[in-house]
Subunit: 399 residues, 3 copies
Amino acid sequence: MLERLEALRLVDHHCHGVLDRDLGPEEFEALLTESDEAGCDLGGSLWDTQVGFAVRRWCAPVLGLPAHASPGDYLARRTELGADEVNRRFLAAAALDALCVDTGFTPQALLDPPELGKLAGARAYEIVRLERLAEGAVADGASATGFAAEVRSRLTAKARSEDVVGCKSIAAYRAGLELVGERPTEAEVASAAGRLLREAERAPSNQQAGRSAPPRVSDEVLHRFLVWCSVDAGLPVQFHVGYGDADADLRRGDPLLLTSLLQAVAPTGVPVMLLHNYPFHRNAGYLAQVFPNVFVDVGLATHNLGHRAPALIAELLELAPFGKVLYSSDAFGLAELYHLGALLFRRGLAAFLGSGVGDGAWTEEDAIRVGELMASGNAVRAYRLPAVPVAMPAGPAGA
Amino acid sequence: MLERLEALRLVDHHCHGVLDRDLGPEEFEALLTESDEAGCDLGGSLWDTQVGFAVRRWCAPVLGLPAHASPGDYLARRTELGADEVNRRFLAAAALDALCVDTGFTPQALLDPPELGKLAGARAYEIVRLERLAEGAVADGASATGFAAEVRSRLTAKARSEDVVGCKSIAAYRAGLELVGERPTEAEVASAAGRLLREAERAPSNQQAGRSAPPRVSDEVLHRFLVWCSVDAGLPVQFHVGYGDADADLRRGDPLLLTSLLQAVAPTGVPVMLLHNYPFHRNAGYLAQVFPNVFVDVGLATHNLGHRAPALIAELLELAPFGKVLYSSDAFGLAELYHLGALLFRRGLAAFLGSGVGDGAWTEEDAIRVGELMASGNAVRAYRLPAVPVAMPAGPAGA
Amino acid sequence: MLERLEALRLVDHHCHGVLDRDLGPEEFEALLTESDEAGCDLGGSLWDTQVGFAVRRWCAPVLGLPAHASPGDYLARRTELGADEVNRRFLAAAALDALCVDTGFTPQALLDPPELGKLAGARAYEIVRLERLAEGAVADGASATGFAAEVRSRLTAKARSEDVVGCKSIAAYRAGLELVGERPTEAEVASAAGRLLREAERAPSNQQAGRSAPPRVSDEVLHRFLVWCSVDAGLPVQFHVGYGDADADLRRGDPLLLTSLLQAVAPTGVPVMLLHNYPFHRNAGYLAQVFPNVFVDVGLATHNLGHRAPALIAELLELAPFGKVLYSSDAFGLAELYHLGALLFRRGLAAFLGSGVGDGAWTEEDAIRVGELMASGNAVRAYRLPAVPVAMPAGPAGA
């Protein structure tokens, strides 16, 4: 049974592109964790972290090295194989049935969904980042009063594609998750859009150039408006919650801050996905229990916690109904994170379900059934993905 | 020793009535968790939760079914036996010495304390819900200026009964737990009572009928006043803290919000009981350590966490002195929850104390002594319950 | 390998003096936990806590008693040996390489750093408590406008000593940790100092005596000013975070409240040490990952959690890079706490690293390497301590 659980194919419902070029040591280390930089003389190497040790243990063999290869050997081998081959190996090793790619954060060139899907041998969908869509509307000249209609029109166009399966809000990184429930009025949206336009004009870099800076949505009214646009379009809404980089004030990322909005959205039946959640994952589990349309995952944290991922998964599964738990890697930049996230999720889930069988909490049959739900069934249902073809035997060999 | 710990008889210091009629599948599922409804097509069945699996494992055998019976078989057998027999079996299986019943939440007819006590073969006490007592005073015509005296008079009358052993505040569900320490003045209470009267009159449903709606206490001053009334009457005060249904904003249920009030109440020596606490149970354990009159439990969460209850109990017992920990089920509606709460608490406590003995943290003798304190001794002392008669051998067979 | 990890010599980077006289039963019990008092009839003995059982188990043998000696036998033996001998035994048993003593809290006479160092056979450094230094400046007659210069001058003088290696802020106990990032202006500091002077004059005890009460710094501007003075002097800043006595409002001690200040201090490269952190240790681990100059420990909580300390250490090591974790006892008053903190940290760390080796998460070699970092290497680097001489075989026998 453990073997079967550890071989479950996954739907990765929240991930990003990976870099398509070779990486220097500092660049690689900076991408390992949520720190903006590599380690330093003061704080030591970021290889000496749970995720660093997990890469050495689990990723080195995928590149043909012994487990626990040194960071230096690992990076040398990575360069020797080249980015294409490295990406191919890790995406395949992840053993995915489908992936939903957030295309809204591209500080540099990343593989796009079709390229990722091809490497993974899986269907790749797109998640629309709401704030970016809104910022694009403004950058393209939407007026304050025309903003709302322009955003709705762009989102409707996006929603027509069968590749687009949801939206994502990064309110947690901007104005924070304390969003009230009510749909903002058209006047409130126009007024907030006006503020956004004026801020972009006033940005120091623009006063010389006489043109607008890239607008930056960070306004409670606009985040809320965008969430309602997604809900009105029937598209599931993902929220960044909790753990992320130092740009975010983690206090403003507690999922409980969403309570009022969740109460307002619940009657629509549109799914809301709380991403990451660490260290507020117990709060998220509570919300998943009491709101019928709330789903949760512990992506990003899973690979960052490495050897401790099973403890995290067990805490999430205290209150969260097993039909409301999703898998995501939140992989960004490094293809390794696709593999690590998937492997550590499978192993953590198998440990959790297996120990339950071991002491009689549930049967093997139920363990496999709910394991399949969390691996892919819940995501297929919540995003209304097409039925997945019968999978090949999973794991690196089968990919 | 484990056997002895798993057979400890308990004082359930916070519980509710159970339904005295047969239940349909949706109704049963809605009562399993803190969700207001049964599961749905989107989110899946609420039987696929820790508590759902715990019912199938531990409750099915009490009804004469094999462990892990399917939900359908379980409900069919429950109907076949009938509510009376089901209630009798589970209350007896809980193996209680005494129970303290919160009689203040009765959305539908529930068994009352004497009936519960009879089924449990244990003495049943009453916990007075403060907000309901105050709302009753207003509904019966108390004026703004007469409100304080009327509430005190009603509470004094209640306190005269030897069946009444404490009060409960649901501030967490209303204005939140951030209550300042000071006793409100008579003028402040009269003013707040006046607001309450006006709100009840203004309620939309009353404008047509020309009469008052049921008043609803949700005012920091009134919650605080009621707590002080209980303290002045020498009655221990229970607080709903943390985990509950979606009506509550969980952020306002962090026990640390009570710090100021706890500082003010501490000199009186009147016990304060923090109920449930999840996911803030470590915060509650801290308060139990630093305030000599604060007691804690993890009721409600214990059965909702099912197989994970031992982890919860171990976290509570990090800072909470073992003389300050109580048992409660917070069972409501389903008699199963009396049995599950008791069984999971005993097993979790036995696992915690047994593993300590196993690695030399304490002796068997001490483990049994502090186990007895947490099972019943602390509650007997804090509520000044009469000495409990020598118990029969515990467990289902002895009940 | 476990033996080697359990024998690591430590740098205790945050501790206090111990009492140099025999202690009565109540006094001893009051010093065991963060409660201000011994246990009481209502709440039971504070020996029935994790730390109480840890003393009986681990400290009794150091005094020549069997493990699990009763509290009465333990205290009798302690008195029989006398405070000097008791202090000598426990400080030696801690097996320290160095200790950094916060000398700013001395409600009664305590051993000073040189005396502690002598007993421990280790170099003792001093940590300057910022608020006390500022209060001293005011008590000695600094004017509102002269306050800033006087504080800087005193701190500069302190920093000249090679025994002084850092400062400590107790903002968490006073105005709370929500400190904004910006350096306050001279005018803001003078204004805040003026308020402090007026408060001291107005204090009731002074109106009769016609003189100033001891000033008490509790002002966001002043805490922040003091932190920047330490940063400007290049001295690492320790913050009390989380767990402490009931004087502190624990809500104001969440390390996430420091986010803005940490963002502002990060570019200076001056280390910031987050002390204790429980129950916010996961939040602290996050900050240690995303800020290159932030270090964390779980002192105070380690001995208070006793048998549960390994769970705490494992949670800290989820996100905190292993190069950013420090050891501290936060021992105060009782010499036992030096021994307990050290022993439980070593054992918890060994359990964590050993279980990782056991299931292949890292190699023995890496486990020992990062174990040495957390035991002493990180502290030596962050505080720029002189290289430690090759240590004698550690543990009680080697001290």
